[in-house]
Symmetry: none
Subunit: 265 residues, 2 copies
């Protein structure tokens, strides 16, 4: 019997309207089973679902005007799951969407950026992250397959930023964020990229537009992630970052992170 592979990806698209052509091209070239998008920046009525369907992808999306917005794309059937983080999250923020695809539950999050460690937005970010533990607890089981993908807006380890000493304490690489994320991770997640690239540095998914030549100088952050519970983690065959979309004419500030799983029964 031949192996059955399941290829998934996460991408902060920074406007699905501005980048839908490149998205469709990428889907055609990479043929993933699932793509989780963040910062679609479009209300549901304007989500280019028809366009994506033509390209062979179903979509489940939750958007609002200007900010945030998440979506899950798949050539397979997408069965919506509970996507409500609960009381901690401001309503209609459009930062979390969940679905079951091919029997695998998938949670896609766009964690608040947090602005600066002194701001109210930072404490909101921390509460939002911690609320995820309760969300996972009420909806899933750590000993069953579960995928958590998205823009976490946190680089978990020193290898995940280009200048760990200088950046420690900055938003996105702050002890309080690490603590909050570890708290959720302890529920039962493995970092799938890190699993396949033990203590390797220099692998990033985000380069700030405002840093001159950030990509060429590789002044990036690994803040987009693919995490999974143990039963799926042990079936993961590889994980990688596709940097090419970030080299195109109109790149997002983020790029795609991918992982592949062997899901033979």
């Amino acid at each position: 019997m031949i192996a059955l592979y399941f290829k998934i990806a996460s991408f902060n698209i920074n406007s699905v309207r501005a980048r839908k052509e490149m998205l469709i091209q990428w889907l055609g070239e990479n043929k993933p089973d699932v793509v989780c998008l963040q910062e679609t920046k479009v209300i549901n009525a304007d989500f280019p679902a028809a366009c994506l369907l033509e390209a062979g992808y179903n979509s489940l999306f939750k958007g609002r005007k200007s900010y945030n917005g998440v979506a899950i794309l798949s050539p397979h059937q997408i069965n919506p799951l509970n996507s409500d983080l609960g009381s901690i999250a401001e309503p209609d923020e459009a930062r979390l969407i969940a679905a079951e695809i091919k029997g695998i539950p998938i949670v896609n999050t766009y964690i608040p950026q947090g602005q600066s460690p002194e701001s109210d937005k930072f404490s909101y970010k921390i509460s939002w992250i911690k609320a995820l533990k309760e969300y996972f607890d009420s909806n899933f089981k750590p000993d069953e397959p579960l995928l958590w993908l998205g823009d976490f807006n946190v680089a978990p380890e020193p290898e995940d930023v280009h200048a760990p000493k200088r950046l420690l304490g900055r938003v996105g690489f702050h002890p309080t964020e690490h603590e909050a994320l570890d708290y959720v991770k302890s529920w039962g997640f493995k970092d799938i990229f890190r699993l396949h690239h033990q203590s390797e540095g220099g692998h990033f998914t985000f380069w700030d537009y405002r840093v001159p030549k950030a990509l060429d100088r590789n002044l990036g952050w690994r803040i987009d992630h693919i995490w999974a519970t143990a039963p799926l983690a042990k079936r993961s065959t590889k994980a990688w970052i596709d940097i090419e979309p970030r080299r195109k004419v109109k790149p997002s500030d983020h790029t795609f992170i991918l992982a592949e799983f062997n899901i033979d029964s």
Copy 2:
């Protein structure tokens, strides 16, 4: 001896930043000796001179933030001429630029639009037009070669608008504008396009973005012009409007008007 042709063009580009790619493509395909641009909408520091030089064109430009802005492009040497309309014109308006190219003096104007016949801007437009007579008088001679190109924001004759009866009295086709323009024309200009298309209607250079399907329904105005003094007018071989750029993906609301002159000595 073979004839020596001189091909000139005028184009209201409605932002040279937004349309520099199409401009460069058009220059490559049409290889004019001179192009006069209006509404470049850039300060001098941001004018894409290097870009145009790469495409084989020198440029002389005068711009301001947001509004107006004029430029003269040529593969030949561009010798600046007096570009000051005088006291009537508000300073730094960037509506007039003049140069000598291949021994021919060229004046490029972006005449004020005038808003509505009741507004102060309309009387400013009339004064501005009339001031041109004094400008031509002080700087040039009607019995010597002189080219005047630009967006005049006036359709001179009934054939120059799509609905002369309905539009008579509107800004751009108003008796007061006709009177002012005739006053300047009497200094010594010929309308080179009209010379080659006697009493032909339906030839327009501008279609309002706000009129639905204006181009398809040819609901236009001929408000961009190429005028010349007698010694040049008698050497004009043809004049035409290139409508193709207006059919492209990101058209200006105007298109190119062109003329060719035989300048054998």
